[in-house]
Point group: C2
Chain length 175, copies 2
Amino acid sequence: MLDNRSGCPINLTMEVIGDRWSLVVIRDMMFGNRRHFRELLENSMEGIASNILSARLKHLVDIGLLSRSDDPSHKQKVIYSLSESAIQLVPVMATIGAWGRRHRPATRELSIRAQLLEEGGPELWEEFMDELRVLHLGASPKSEFSVLQKLTEAFQAAAEATKSELPSSDRDKIK
Amino acid sequence: MLDNRSGCPINLTMEVIGDRWSLVVIRDMMFGNRRHFRELLENSMEGIASNILSARLKHLVDIGLLSRSDDPSHKQKVIYSLSESAIQLVPVMATIGAWGRRHRPATRELSIRAQLLEEGGPELWEEFMDELRVLHLGASPKSEFSVLQKLTEAFQAAAEATKSELPSSDRDKIK
DNA sequence: CTATCCAATTGCATTATGCAACTGGTTGTG
DNA sequence: CACAACCAGTTGCATAATGCAATTGGATAG
């Protein structure tokens, strides 16, 4: 897993997020506010396996993108949090999402978040990062508007709209 | 290799560039203007193996990020070109480079390009993308300034500066 | 006391990556 | 024309990563 093949920033970043799962896990924590192992496992759109998730989380903690702490409300629960480094991946997420939306067969309802992030631009990203700092690093809130909430609402509204486009009777026909 | 685990733009992008080599190969073509198999193989900072490079190029051509054509000057030579989709990865490269420069142990001389791209911002990226369209897609030149040249010069100057910091006698001691 | 929840781990199969050597052919040089 | 260098890969083999299904050793809720 560990490399350090060269000191090039692009290479070094790919050594960290250059696999099929790391960014997807961080995406779910970032935009879906998943903080527990189970949440990440069972709500994973892509269906990550538990051993892969386990290895991925361990690695992300090791390299300082996540931190792992006990949940005071439950002795067995573990809370994963984004580090400042991971929070600063927001522009990367936005840029990658914008690219994927244009150049890959992205679903419309799943693209709505990418679209809002792209349209919002760097100012929105900064606002969102501040919100993540409140949620994950215990920072004190700066603004009252919730970008996370806006993104989530738009995402769910799009999901609803898609549902009505394709009635349940039709959807049932799809195995 | 082929997945399509979900229609999420971020996931779909990671299914394309989410491996250790794809972005590094595209980086060398983009910033180092490497167009032939040998150039990519022998000038690779990270030391890619020929079978990996071969598989990677094949895959990138398959998914439409590169095109492959015969070199008219040499019957055995093959020219690889960036497609419009790949050229539009410039903002992704810039954002990823900026992140790596801050959050990973990047070498200073290898960071100079990432730094210039970051400081130049979206306007510089657009200019650079236009230059890539000239080089890779046969577009007609729009501007006389060469961002590629600027980036290359800065990169080589930084490499020279590093050389003088560490004289050859000292460098030789390092096995 | 028991069913459910929790964060993983285990065993096993399939893929991907990595290394070194090699292939079949083309081109430039003497 | 002979020969070395160059060209884009391929082959065989070892190691590492990923994926699937079942299971573990607890903790908690009813």
